[in-house]
Symmetry: C2
Subunit: 643 residues, 2 copies
């Protein structure tokens, strides 16, 4: 780890996106997703599952009020994952144990929007929500409606399964963003007060526990960055260092002894700095790894950084789908073993790819290397974008690489694989996470240090760095042409990522390649034009992945493409592609030459081998992120190659 | 359904197997499996999971004794699937709710052995066990140790989940066999007394319930055949007719209403005679269908027979693995949807293939058609035989078509797929079921009616039919040569099945082909010699099965072959077979020409497409039923074909 390499991303307040492609997505989030979610959080969407999120804060506010008034407050059991109208008292907490986090994620998305667009009405809505949230905070700073409503005496008693520290993390992230967007401190003060309580509660000679679902670690670093208060960084590091120590904290709380490595699900099977393989719940894992990178950068902890490098390598090179999805098994929403990447059983949760982007960006800021930015691009343009319907009104949580609707309906092993996007879920982790990612997408484009401006993603917009003004005009996704206008107050380097998918590229100025970036010397006002040759091509997956042997996928720049039944008929598995095909781009499709095997017409399943008749067909591919917008149909990313 | 077509199999007492291949299997069962299971039932196998089976009967006998003496008897909850030393009182019932059935299956296997070999010691062991069983019977005939030990007041209160009628079925099947083998009535009388109680309890104007796990229906037909008592047949038909009627009996007991089709798991989602697709728990399904065929044959119920034809067709042509395995999903040990036959996730339970053999044999007896016998052969020589280790000491419950040991250990979706056979399980349904099937294998070879002797399976032995003596000398599995000596008291037809795998065959006498059988006119003492050309070949699976597209399997006569890592190295998925390969039979292997793709050596998972280098290799195939006898290793049945 070399401090000279460190760079920092540009804060969202210093970014103005003006990119045809991304402006469309941002508008969808602004006009559809954020308002829809606001209604959903208030349980006002007809036909949608109830959120109970605001309702819980209102109930908790009542509890706080009664306590202050010295009135008696009832208690309810804290013994479930999900509380609803049939399994608990109507006055008790409702929803999932992490329900509070939904409103925080919404607020964070709102904050990023407010940085880009002044919107008094939206800000007013947000401040009303913040008032409701803050009214629910206990005097000591504690703020989690599950325990405040149900039982104040059991706070922090089940760190493994409950999500108090997780909800704190989202509160702190939202509060930081909202403060930066508006200068309003109310939510930030609430977050800091809760953070102080956490720092007072956990640590050496205090409770030696750590969160079951990571994020508090990342959030505490954000508060440290904002306030400079070292306790926050110390507690974040404490959580990392305690995790996985034996005897397990969770076992001690439960009064039991686990003999073998346990808690893979929570990445608590061994100490994070000794971990080399990404295991367990994929979202939790990448949130943990992101925090490890955060802390390594701020403390110079080489061991932690080395673990991050190994873990990133393990994900990127053994556990990541071609779409940037991670988490190959529904069981625990988790990573499977190395090279186990089934297409039809994939979990590949939207939130996990978002977390992977967090992790990759932090690694990029520690040491610029294009492969980190390539991973961000892969996740962003495929899994993350795929999760939102083109009308912004429905979402994928699970992002499979192969779908047969009949299997999703009839085979319980694939019930998690939805053939069309779903409306708001009661467990609504992904849509608001997506909203906050898209509204802050500009922060993944650039980073800077004293010597260099790095451009990682070619999204059109204006970026105000510390040492330079940068304007990106991007036709990256269509013609591959990008124009960078940079106005630097001093002599500086400019590093432009050469995307890994691009074999032929040219720049209007002289450059040297370093770590996958074309590096230019810049002084004053300079324009660099780049052309990244973009064309459809066949991509092969390592044959260590059993699932994809003999198959290939089609890509176009950062986009992975797929076949849909709507364009290619039923039984996509009967199709194969000519390995020497020319590709054509036409009417939004990529077309290619392929074959379709005649469907077996024998009654019996088994017969003497003969070669099936294959008729030439034109294959029609669409970008993966657009699939499933035309009703239920078959989809596949990988197609057999006829050699 | 035409009564003229009806035929009956030869009872095991009239069969003497003398076949090199099968004698080896029978000896294993006699010398290893039956004695091992005897010890296991008595919990005397060091290191094996406890059965508790005999212990339960002894406990129940004590209860009966106390009741007779007017002493008080404690009660325990009947609220679990499995009772063990940690979750219930030590004096309560232990084991699975269907634990009693294990000893009945053992006794049935013993009975078939005693028909073939006089063995006083074994018979004495069996009679001692029968004494213990009968001492546990209640005065009214009821005999199920779970309820006798735990709570006499709740008998027959949970037909859906508990297995009283299932245990009765196995009792009746064992009792019938033991009576036929030895002439001893004690167990038969116990079974008849229990059967009478069941007939008095269930029916019109009585309890309108039916078994959650079918088999009582089949067993009642056996008792009807033995005794001629029509009540037994009537009750069996009642169970069939009540199943699936709405409102569901199970719902009425549970005090709830199920709106949609429910109870697929128990085949109770609709009335059996209206069912056209095999669904739910595969063993239960084929036990039900077997009983439906039994009853159709005895009552002339055309509607029931038509349902059987449809259900058999559905299994054979849409839901059966090439190995004769059924049940494609672990979830509910159940059939998946049509053409969903994943190789690596297969359940394919041994007991389900045994049940499929029951069903097919009954269909064959109603109307001879070679495809029923082909299914028996396919299941018998592949899935059923595969379930037993070559030393008779370990067993597969699940019979996958593709195994990667790492996945079985690390991927919870494949925990059910064991890479090596297991010792006796506490849930030991398969090994004793296998024992009774192998010891009665001769009963699947022949059937007869007034006009015809049908030979379905070419297993060497002597068969005393009603109208003829038949001697089969069989080299069917090696050279394909079979010699039939038949000595008929009267003019009769002889029908020899032409196996579906055989394209070239010849007979020493003139014949006509009918329904897949070569039919001869016979009078007096006649010898017919047959040659069924047997050679290795490639088999294709219908491309309606997505999993196997572009692949083929190797067969040799009735045997399906497979590749193992022990002979072909790791990464079997890298192999492909030359579609024009010659096969060689050498040292117990079938060898073929194939290719091995070089393992990808790039660090990253995704790269521009290029054709992988493929080196020619010799592929070594072994019979599927022998796999997994050399320690943990990869296995696959289907291999990619290089066109």
């Amino acid at each position: 780890m070399n401090e000279k390499n460190f760079s920092n991303h540009i804060e969202p307040g210093y970014i103005k996106i003006s990119d045809n492609f991304w402006n469309g997505k941002l508008e969808l989030v602004r006009k559809e997703v954020i308002p829809y979610q606001y209604e959903a959080l208030h349980d006002r969407v007809p036909g949608a599952e109830k959120s109970y999120c605001i309702e819980n804060f209102l109930k908790a506010g009542e509890v706080i009020k009664k306590i202050k008034e010295g009135k008696s407050v009832p208690s309810y059991p804290v013994d479930k994952w999900v509380y609803n109208e049939t399994n608990c008292d109507k006055n008790a907490f409702h929803g999932w144990v992490f329900q509070d986090s939904d409103v925080y994620k919404w607020l964070e998305g709102v904050a990023y929007l407010l940085m880009a667009y002044a919107d008094d009405n939206l800000q007013k809505q947000a401040e009303e929500v913040i008032d409701i949230i803050c009214a629910a905070q206990m005097d000591n700073g504690y703020l989690d409606t599950l325990y405040i409503i149900n039982n104040r005496d059991e706070i922090f008693s089940n760190l493994k399964d409950h999500h108090e520290l997780y909800c704190f993390g989202h509160l702190a992230e939202a509060a930081t963003a909202f403060y930066k967007a508006t200068g309003k401190r109310k939510l930030l003060d609430a977050a800091l007060k809760f953070a102080d309580l956490i720092c007072d509660t956990f640590g050496e000679n205090k409770i030696k526990g750590y969160p079951g679902h990571e994020i508090a670690e990342m959030a505490l670093v954000k508060l440290f960055d904002l306030t400079g208060k070292k306790d926050y960084l110390k507690t974040a590091l404490f959580f990392i260092n305690e995790r996985g120590k034996k005897p397990y904290y969770y076992d001690m709380v439960l009064g039991r002894e686990t003999k073998e490595d346990n808690y893979h699900y929570n990445q608590a099977h061994k100490e994070p700095r000794k971990q080399t393989e990404a295991v367990g719940h994929a979202v939790r894992a990448v949130y943990l790894f992101s925090a490890m990178a955060d802390i390594a950068k701020r403390t110079g902890d080489e061991e932690l950084y080395t673990a991050c490098l190994k873990l990133f390598d393990n994900i990127e090179n053994k556990k990541m789908y071609i779409t940037g999805g991670i988490g190959a098994t529904v069981d625990g929403e988790a990573f499977s073993f190395n090279y186990d990447l089934p297409n039809d059983l994939a979990y590949s949760e939207t939130c996990a790819s978002i977390g992977l982007i967090f992790f990759a960006m932090r690694m990029l800021e520690i040491s610029p290397d294009a492969h980190f930015a390539d991973v961000i691009e892969r996740a962003l343009y495929n899994t993350v974008l795929s999760s939102m319907a083109e009308d912004g009104k429905a979402f994928f949580y699970v992002n499979p690489l192969e779908v047969l609707p009949e299997a999703s309906h009839k085979d319980s092993r694939k019930y998690h694989v939805k053939p069309v996007r779903q409306k708001w879920f009661s467990c609504a982790c992904c849509p608001p996470n997506l909203a906050r990612l898209i509204t802050s997408v500009g922060t993944y484009c650039l980073s800077e240090n004293n010597d260099m401006i790095f451009i990682h993603q070619y999204i059109g917009g204006r970026f105000t760095a510390k040492n330079a003004q940068v304007k990106i005009e991007s036709d990256y996704l269509s013609s591959g042409k990008v124009k960078i206008e940079i106005n630097s107050q001093k002599k500086t380097g400019l590093a432009l990522r050469v995307p890994s998918w691009c074999k032929n590229f040219s720049f209007s100025k002289e450059y040297k390649i370093k770590n996958g970036y074309a590096v230019f010397e810049i002084c004053g006002s300079v324009t660099v034009e780049a052309i990244f040759e973009i064309k459809p091509k066949l991509i092969k997956c390592s044959n260590k992945v059993r699932e994809n042997i003999g198959k290939a996928a089609v890509s176009y720049g950062p986009f992975i493409y797929c076949l849909e039944e709507a364009d290619n008929g039923k039984n996509l598995h009967l199709l194969s592609i000519n390995k020497n095909t020319d590709f054509e781009i036409k009417d939004g499709f990529i077309t290619a030459d392929g074959y379709k095997e005649a469907e077996s017409n024998s009654v019996g399943l088994y017969s003497d081998y003969n070669i099936d008749k294959k008729d030439p067909v034109k294959l029609h591919f669409v970008p993966y992120y657009t699939w499933g917008n035309r009703g239920e149909n078959e989809m596949e990313v990988y197609i057999r190659v006829k050699e």
